[in-house]
């Protein structure tokens, strides 16, 4: 079996958020600080009121101790999201381009730095709209699943995660059925020319089912 347990069950939302915390965001520090040497690299120096870019987890940590204001990323503005929403609502449109971790980052920022967002209620509403539109699109999209591939561009991490259990299982099943069908066809084809005993075919079928 090629699917790990993790893939079967998908990630939980906190796990996804944990992964998203390495995304960088801009902050306006409120305290002067020197450069910080982190394992993943250096951040800072912090010179208020100049913006600097830090990993999200650090931004949240600083924000909680009110040592910074978080500058919301450009896509997390009401105008930008509304434009994306409109694009998303276009009939026959594909998924619009949004950051891979947009849901996670938005969730973290809305939870921790709501006061730094402009029109956070509007943003929340638009995110909800976006999410629902995209969910329904994803549901439509997954119907296109075939044994070879499933293409949905610009799907974000959380959205992939949602369809992962279903997709992984169905794709695997489809693939196996396809392989079986191919085998069956082949044997049929062969049996037209050379008499192949049924027992062998049974064996092959049975073994693949068992597998």
């Amino acid at each position: 079996m090629t699917i790990t347990a993790r893939q079967r069950e998908g990630f939980t939302m906190p796990e996804l958020e944990y992964r998203a915390q390495c995304e960088r965001v801009a902050i306006v520090p409120l305290h002067r600080m020197e450069r910080l040497e982190l394992v993943t690299g250096t951040v800072g120096p912090f010179r208020p009121p100049q913006k600097t870019s830090v990993p999200l987890w650090l931004a949240v940590m600083l924000k909680r101790s009110s040592r910074c204001r978080i500058v919301p990323p450009e896509w997390l503005s009401y105008e930008h999201l509304r434009a994306r929403c409109r694009e998303e609502d276009q009939p026959d449109s594909l998924f619009t381009r949004l950051p891979t971790h947009y849901l996670e980052v938005a969730h973290i920022l809305l939870a921790n730095a709501e006061d730094d967002l402009v029109d956070s209620q509007g943003v929340r509403r638009l995110l909800q709209d976006l999410r629902e539109t995209r969910q329904s699109k994803t549901r439509d999209g997954i119907k296109m699943l075939n044994p070879l591939q499933l293409q949905m561009d610009n799907l974000s991490a959380a959205e992939i995660n949602e369809i992962r259990p279903l997709f992984a299982r169905s794709f695997d099943m489809l693939r196996r059925l396809d392989a079986l069908a191919a085998t069956a066809e082949q044997t049929q084809h062969q049996s037209q020319f050379s008499e192949q005993p049924y027992s062998e075919l049974d064996d092959s079928l049975g073994s693949s089912y068992l597998h």
């Binding site: 306006v28 305290h31 009121p49 913006k51 009110s66 204001r69």
Partner: protein
């Protein structure tokens, strides 16, 4: 004063009340907060009759406009209705009637003002959103939406010929729209002309009105005066002031445009003679007055107050004292005829009446021009010329007039030419009131916000960026400070008069007492009572103030510059021309920006402002620099300050940031355009305005104002950083961008050293910083050299190389050339390098002139093909540099002439020239000696290697291993690790003393060898030299020497 004002007739409930006379003059309409519109008879006899009440509205009626046949009214919930007026042709001739004829507009926001065009086709409505709506009165179709105002629009007024529409916004902006086109465009914008008033309250807004003759717009403006804006030039032609003491809420023109009536919150109704520009009558009512209107056919005014009362003022203009009547005699004499002639359309009715041709004696010119008015609609949509002609003709008429009109209308231009009104000073980083808040200061330390609380006090909030260093300060401000300057050690506050603060809504300040106050709050926590406060003498008010860690500066209206320390010691007072526009301070420097003398009018009629700057120390002891302050065409300075490093900088209204370069060098100081924010926003393709905050480390810190806003909003927004980008040519290419980057780096790098030079501080660690900066600049140059090499532009590469400062960077440039297979270039660069070495190493000796220019001459060839010879200074002076055999100073000049940037790099950057090493001086003497003196030279040669780190090339003709070495160099060097060169050079320098013992015999041999083969083709030599160079860089010098010795001996 024989005027008579009727008793108050309480037409409406308490609240804002509007009033408008019907055009026939026999009825007056009012609207009020009881959501009713009433129509009263105007004539004396019928005045007490019952009014017609129109109950269409369901909210406060805020605006009314009566044309000949229509009445339009707008209310607070945004409904605008029209009524058909069935007015009697003459007083008492019939019953007055007003029938609702439809809904003009349903807006969601209060309709503050309405205006019907002269041809009665359109109605313009100003609502609290930023747009003006123009609706057709014929079918109530939406015609236009005029967008442009920022903030709500107070007032709209059509010109009588319907060609233009004037509108005034809450932020004081007056706009004029050309309504003749299908898509009306804004033809004139004047900011800050009218009152800056609070949106949302009609009572605190004022209305502007177009004169019936179409030539002027009367705009009530901030200093409680009425400005007359001239049609065409859209400039202020005259100003009527000195009467009102509070906001003027409404103005009205008499029918012949000779008089203006104005009412204000000070309960005064004032009648102005426009020609004489003075008030001729006034009446003080009991309450604040809302609106006023002239009876078009009589010497009668109607005005309303805030309690809903209507007053009628008969016999306003004292005609018996020789004043012309406010109405047109023609119109009155021929009421019926004129009304009939004017018909259902036409230009302004007055003109139409004049066109009726009854009074030729007075109006012949205008009658001739406007004669067609009777036909109606002649001044139509696209008939702009005829309108202008009409205006001109009217002008003529006025000039010929007997003085009742505008004979002095040229006067304003004259005073403009002689210096104009005193310019408004401003504080960098301050804004006007936005709602009840206003930024007094906004910089990299923090912001100071004043919040209007009530009539007696404001409150001040000082908010810092760095919360670890400062604690935010809030206090209640009973002085009503109008300006503040924030530094990292303290904050200076000052009160001033309204005029100087350029803040017309400044409430109360300067009213209560005429004494201004300057107050300082220190942030240092260790000393108690760090605060101080001084009162200025009466009539001396601060124009602008500045504060820095070195103290505070106050520029006052009496032309005083008062410098104080942070502790409040008055350190220095000096008199300045009273033209200071703004000032800023940082550290011990104070930047003053002054309006230049002889501010002139441009040919297009707009006023050009020119500026000067003075840069002085905060103790007033020294002028650092001064001169003209450049400006974009027709711009004005909106911000001045310092960069974090200390560069004085300005930003003008055209978005150009300029930095004062080399300010420490006095006369050499120059303004460098550092960033064109307009271009930036164009490139970004967004409608953004950048409000300057500060300049810091190559970045321009701004607040990005979107949606046509001009000032930073509340709460304090996040700052944006724009990279400084000197507007160079060709910046769409990579090379151009690199050039811009280089210039920017140079602009800010040189500052540090200049600052040290200026303050005379010790050069502790300066050399290291200098080297670092030089290296940074050289890196950029090398990148440019590489680009030039790649593009096969050898001359460009040479020019760039000549700008290189450090020797090792120059070597790197040569390597780049070799790597890029630019042999000829490398050859030349090597020659330049050698002459550089000679110039810097042998400054003051005779051979400063041996730098070869880029020309092609035999001499050069000679100097190249015999490097060993050159090294021993044995070149015949007559051939290579015979012009100046000796004389240190002269040679320096010569070098500068020859190579430009090259010698700039070595001698022009302020570094002390290296002491001429021993061998060089000896070599100079030898150079002057005759050729062939080899033995003497060898004796004169020092045994030690030269003090300069430039290693010589000991084996000029070591040809045999050439090819191998070039391969090695090819594989070894890449552009990225050019600076590894530094390392190898160090190692070679370290190794050289060890090799010194061996060097001399090898050299001797090489020299002999070189002479022997002096006539061999140059090409080989060059290759040999290159190989030697490459070799040297790769291996240690000792190895190289050994190799060379081996070759030679072999």
């Amino acid at each position: 004063m024989g005027h008579s004002v009727t008793d108050a007739r309480f037409a409406h409930a308490e609240g804002y009340t509007t009033v408008a006379f019907g055009r026939s003059g026999d009825f007056v309409c009012t609207g009020g907060s009881d959501s009713l519109v009433r129509v009263f008879y105007a004539s004396k006899a019928e005045r007490d009759q019952e009014a017609i009440t129109l109950e269409q509205h369901s909210d406060n009626v805020l605006s009314l406009f009566a044309s000949r046949t229509k009445l339009v009214s707008g209310d607070e919930e945004g409904m605008v209705y029209s009524f058909d007026l069935g007015a009697p042709a003459s007083p008492g001739a019939g019953q007055l009637s007003a029938e609702p004829s439809g809904t003009v507009l349903r807006s969601t926001l209060p309709a503050r003002d309405v205006s019907i065009s002269g041809n009665e086709r359109q109605v313009a409505i100003a609502t609290d959103d930023e747009k003006i709506t123009v609706v057709s009165l014929l079918d109530m179709a939406l015609l236009h939406t005029l967008a442009g105002h920022r903030g709500s629009v107070n007032s709209v007024s059509y010109s009588p010929d319907s060609a233009y529409l004037a509108s005034v916004g809450c932020n004081g902006t007056v706009r004029v729209w050309d309504m003749r086109e299908d898509d009306p465009s804004c033809v004139s914008v004047t900011h800050k002309m009218a009152y800056v008033c609070e949106p949302g309250s009609s009572m605190e807004q004022s209305k502007s009105r177009w004169s019936p003759d179409g030539r002027h717009i009367a705009v009530p403006c901030g200093d409680h005066a009425i400005k007359l804006v001239e049609r065409g030039s859209w400039e202020v032609a005259a100003e009527l002031g000195g009467k009102h003491t509070k906001m003027i809420t409404h103005v009205s023109w008499s029918a012949n445009s000779k008089y203006i009536a104005s009412v204000g919150l000070d309960s005064q109704a004032v009648v102005w003679d426009v020609g004489a520009r003075k008030a001729i009558q006034s009446h003080t009512a009991a309450n604040a007055l809302c609106q006023v209107d002239w009876n078009p056919r009589g010497n009668i005014l109607a005005f309303t107050d805030c309690l809903g009362a209507l007053y009628i003022w008969d016999d306003v203009v004292p005609i018996e004292q020789g004043h012309a009547p406010p109405y047109e005699r023609a119109a009155v004499a021929a009421t019926a005829a004129a009304a009939a002639a004017a018909g259902a359309s036409g230009v302004a009715q007055t003109a139409g009446a004049a066109g009726g041709g009854l009074v030729g004696d007075l109006f012949d010119d205008s009658a001739a021009v406007d004669g067609g008015a009777g036909n109606g609609m002649d001044v139509d949509d696209d008939d702009g010329d005829s309108v202008e002609d009409a205006g001109d003709a009217l002008d003529d008429f006025v000039v010929d007039d007997d003085g009742a009109g505008y004979s002095e209308r040229q006067a304003p231009h004259q005073w403009m030419a002689t210096g104009g009104p005193q310019s408004h000073a401003f504080q960098p980083g301050s804004t006007p009131w936005i709602g009840n808040r206003r930024y007094l200061a906004f910089n990299m330390v923090g912001s100071v916000v004043s919040i209007a609380q009530d009539a007696a006090h404001n409150s001040i909030e000082v908010e810092f960026y760095d919360k670890s260093l400062y604690r935010d300060i809030h206090f209640s401000d009973s002085f009503k400070f109008a300006m503040a300057a924030l530094s990292d050690t303290g904050c200076l506050f000052a009160t001033t008069t309204k005029e100087l603060a350029n803040d017309h809504s400044l409430r109360g300040a300067g009213d209560a007492s005429d004494v201004s106050v300057v107050s300082y709050r220190g942030f240092a926590s260790w000393s108690t009572n760090a605060d101080w406060m001084y009162k200025l003498p009466p009539k001396e008010h601060p124009r602008c103030i500045a504060a820095s860690s070195h103290g505070a500066a106050v520029v006052t209206s009496q032309g005083m510059l008062r410098l104080l320390t942070g502790g409040g010691v008055q350190r220095h007072v000096e008199s300045l021309p009273n033209r200071v526009v703004t000032c800023a301070a940082r550290g011990d420097l104070l930047l003053l920006v002054l309006e230049a003398l002889g501010t002139v009018k441009s040919t297009s009629g707009s006023r050009l402002i020119e500026y000067e700057y003075i840069l002085m120390t905060m103790d007033g002891q020294a002028r650092v620099a001064s001169g003209a302050c450049p400006l974009s065409p027709s711009g004005e300075i909106v911000w001045a300050g310092f960069s974090e490093e200390g560069h004085p900088a300005t930003c003008d209204s055209k978005g150009m940031l300029r930095v004062l370069h080399r300010y420490w060098a006095g006369r050499d100081a120059c303004w460098v355009p550092a960033l064109d924010t307009r271009r930036l926003s164009r490139e970004r393709g967004k409608r953004e305005a950048f409000w300057p905050v500060a300049l810091s480390a190559k970045q321009f810190i701004v607040v990005t104002c979107r949606d046509r806003a001009r000032y930073p909003p509340f709460p304090r927004p996040i700052l944006d950083e724009l990279d400084v980008d000197i507007p160079l040519l060709n910046t769409d290419t990579h090379a151009g961008q690199q050039e811009a980057k280089y210039l920017t780096t140079r602009l800010f790098c040189e500052q540090e050293h200049g600052e040290v030079a200026r303050t005379g501080g010790e050069h502790s660690g300066d050399t290291a910083a200098q080297a670092r900066d030089d290296l940074e600049q050289d890196k950029l140059l090398l990148r440019l050299v590489q680009l030039a090499c790649k593009a096969d532009k050898a001359q460009r590469a040479i020019d760039l190389a000549l700008m290189i400062k450090l020797d090792q960077s120059f070597d790197a440039a040569i390597k780049i050339a070799i790597h890029q297979k630019q042999t000829a270039l490398a050859e030349r660069l090597m020659r330049i390098r050698d002459s550089r070495a000679a110039a810097s190493g042998g400054d003051g000796d005779g051979d400063g002139g041996d730098i070869d220019d880029h020309g092609n001459s035999e001499n050069e060839l000679h100097s190249v093909v015999a490097p060993d010879v050159r090294h021993r200074r044995r070149r015949p002076p007559a051939v290579t540099y015979g012009q100046k055999p000796s004389g240190g100073d002269g040679s320096d000049d010569h070098a500068a002439n020859d190579t430009g940037g090259d010698s700039d790099a070595s001698s022009g950057d302020g570094r002390p020239p290296l002491p001429p090493p021993q061998h060089a001086r000896v070599g100079g003497m030898a150079g002057a000696a005759a050729e062939g003196g080899e033995a003497r030279e060898l004796v004169a040669r020092p045994a030690q290697p030269p003090a300069t780190s430039r290693p010589f090339n000991p084996f000029g003709v070591a040809a045999p291993n050439t090819s191998m070495e070039i391969r090695r160099s090819d594989s070894f060097f890449s552009a990225a690790d050019l600076h590894s060169n530094t390392l190898s050079r160090e190692s070679s320098a370290a190794a050289s003393p060890a090799a010194a013992g061996k060097r001399q015999p090898a050299e001797h041999d090489a020299g002999a060898h070189g002479r022997k083969h002096a006539k061999v083709a140059g090409r080989d030599r060059v290759q040999a030299k290159m190989s030697a160079f490459a070799f040297k860089s790769n291996t240690s010098a000792a190895d190289a020497l050994e190799g060379a010795a081996g070759d030679d001996s072999a």
